[in-house]
Symmetry: C2
Subunit: 302 residues, 2 copies
Amino acid sequence: MSTLTIPSDLPSVAEDCEQLKKAFDGWGTNEKLIISILAHRTSTQRKLIRQAYAELFGVDLLQSLDKELSSDFEKVVLLWTVDPAERDAILAHDTARKWHPNNRVLLEIACTRSSLELFAVKQAYHARFKRSLEEDVAYHTTGDFRKLLVPLVSSFRYEGPEVNMTLAKTEAKILHENISNKAYNHDDIIRILTTRSKPQLNATFNHYNNEFGMLSDLKTDPEDGFLAALRAIIKCLTNPEKYFEKVLRLAINKTGTDEIDMKQIKEEYYRRNSVPLERAIAHDTSGDYEAMLLALIGHEDA
Amino acid sequence: MSTLTIPSDLPSVAEDCEQLKKAFDGWGTNEKLIISILAHRTSTQRKLIRQAYAELFGVDLLQSLDKELSSDFEKVVLLWTVDPAERDAILAHDTARKWHPNNRVLLEIACTRSSLELFAVKQAYHARFKRSLEEDVAYHTTGDFRKLLVPLVSSFRYEGPEVNMTLAKTEAKILHENISNKAYNHDDIIRILTTRSKPQLNATFNHYNNEFGMLSDLKTDPEDGFLAALRAIIKCLTNPEKYFEKVLRLAINKTGTDEIDMKQIKEEYYRRNSVPLERAIAHDTSGDYEAMLLALIGHEDA
């Protein structure tokens, strides 16, 4: 899925470590050198570099990065350097502990990762934070959001293709009844969204759309944060690329932007906006941060 | 933990398969032969036998057992033949689908297994039933029990030894306040019991017992099934051997009994009842079922 460009004459892991060390040493930090290495290595290669770096210099590469870099640029390099499960764990931890209804990171991680990927995030969470993801989410959220988010991050969804059409019809009806009554926080809505497999939910939503009109009843109150979360969950479960394209579009049209890692999103972005994502990002960021983001999405000049 | 007695001159897996086939063939079934093999093999050995049996005779050993055996004896042999995670998955599935407040199996599995064991149960559940454990529990339970059991079976608890004493005090107080107000189904009681690590909960319960008297407030209404479930959860989390000894004692004093697999329970049983568990079981069961149970707990004559 990634749009990484890896050099054909890939340096050895030891060489990469030496170059990174050089980038940190001396006057100032050579951000361009850091980008030229880390932004052009796969997740596995970055893992090997981090291991070798610790062996060679007796210090965690993350610590060196942390000391030398700052701000948005630092954050994106750090997140990029850890492996995907640890990255999600860090993002989930930050979000859970400074939780706000408008922050979508928890539900994005819970709904767009595979069941085994989500399990790897939970293991990384244990290892890094000495507690569980469920524990922090349950502790830092309240009310309806707790009722929704705790099962969402806890669930180990079945991933087989089997679909029970009778059940899909029954549960589409249950969803519709509760939505019609504006009982958005009803136990059954939460149960269905947080436990059913994605193929089963797709069947349920399709039936809903055919029978009762697009799940758009959920837009009745545009100011309601809980409804917005339900909409985001439904989108993340059924069409994550489209969901992330929109997140990106809104982020770029506002201020700041987000890390990008997926070819599909780039394509979806272009399809929807008729402007290449690279140009939009270059317009919206600057300096090392821009260079890193452009390198990550595979822009040629980076 | 097991009290299995394995023969010193262990036959090959192929020999075991041949003998099992022989026990099924001909007039009637040779239950003694089945017991002499399956009750005296470790979980790994039984797994190998099941694989080899399928390769040799083109049929799952479980199916052969299912065809030839009946009643309690059949059930215990079947459960004994699958590996522990699959056994828990089968028990959890049966319980979830015929759920009754007095059935403790779900909470026993959720609270007495390690986090990784519980995760293996969830994987076995996917493989065998083409759906998730959470999904079935959420679908078949209602009200307060759903609120309690879904997070209980979903949680991936942290297992490190770290304990936060300040948190233990705060949460002991939260438990006490809600218990005093008879708000037994309060979100915070459920959150604490279902997400905190076992060492952390131990510290919380100890603090509770020191400050507010034994968690015995939970006995105010002995008829209340929800309170009884909370008591069982607290016991399973803190002292599973003692919990299972009591289950066993009550089961033997009533009718029927339960499968036994743990040396510690046997010891706890003797310590508490001054009668060896073997004698109690022999007194309470008969025939093949008795022979199988005695073989499983490692009685010499079996």
